[in-house]
Amino acid sequence: MTIRTFAVLTVWLWVAGTSVAGDTIFVRLVAANNAPGAPPAALADVMGDLTKRSQYSNFQLVDSKKVKLPAAARVKLKGGYALELSGPKEKLKLGVFHGKRRIMQMTVSLKEGRPLILGEFPAQDGKMVFVLLSK
């Protein structure tokens, strides 16, 4: 491998790495209730926080979506909920909607790999929790 080849490869890797890292937000909608059930593997990274804060013992993944950054999307989720995301992850505007009604509005600087947990929103049986993660 010549120096020139290696330099080209390094630049390519750097550009690829910077463009891929942390440019997607993973949204999970979690149902919290006291029904019997095993914790799903899809929530393993936030189970500690959920059980510590919530009065409920059972958490199930209801819905999940991906949003590319910088965001400009309205993500419809189950249970009549929707998230509106706009802007870069350093200044992400996030709106939580139920039907057409906005029930929460926030601006947040999301850091890669750190979950943002929003709870607890009303549901027919128990509560709903949103988990956002930048990857």
């Binding site: 491998m1 120096i3 290696f6 330099a7 390094t10 890797l13 750097w14 790495g17 910077t18 890292a21 942390g22 990274d45 936030v46 500690g48 926080d49 510590k52 804060r53 509106e84 200044k91 709106g95 909607f97 139920h98 057409k100 009604r101 906005r102 029930i103 929460m104 509005q105 926030m106 601006t107 947040v108 600087s109 999301l110 850091k111 890669e112 790999g113 750190r114 979950p115 943002l116 947990i117 929003l118 709870g119 607890e120 929103f121 009303p122």
Partner: protein
């Protein structure tokens, strides 16, 4: 066919060689030095050819790999900083809200108690 004997060959060669004018050694070297003096043959005037030794290539590769690794590691290190909530507005009725950063899981939690969405103020339009 009679083969030519070696003495005959020698005699023949000697006879032919007599006609060839051989330059004297001193004259030859004088001419050589004169011509050599007319042409620059200094190594310093030659174009430099950049040759990287193998160890330099290996060192450059190592430095690039370390730099790339550090860049990616620092960028994706979850310990660098946490989520930061810059503004929060809850339009639905609720009894309390708390925001906390969990030091163990590095998660940011916004927990709203007794939220009711039927009387939310915002219409989202």
């Amino acid at each position: 066919m009679n083969p030519i004997s070696w003495p005959d060959i020698e005699m023949e060669l000697a006879a032919r060689q007599a006609d060839v004018k051989v330059a004297e050694a001193d004259r030859f070297w004088d001419e050589f030095r004169f011509r050599a003096g007319e042409t620059h043959q200094d190594a310093a005037d030659a174009l430099p050819i950049l040759v990287f030794p193998a160890w330099a290539k290996a060192a450059a590769c190592l430095v690039a790999i370390i730099a790339l690794t550090l860049m990616v590691t620092i960028r994706s290190d979850p310990m660098v900083a946490g989520n930061e909530i810059q503004s929060l507005d809850i339009t639905a009725s609720h009894s309390s809200v708390f925001v906390v950063n969990d030091d163990e899981t590095m998660a940011t939690i916004v927990w709203v108690s007794d939220m009711e969405i039927n009387d939310a103020k915002g219409d989202g339009t």
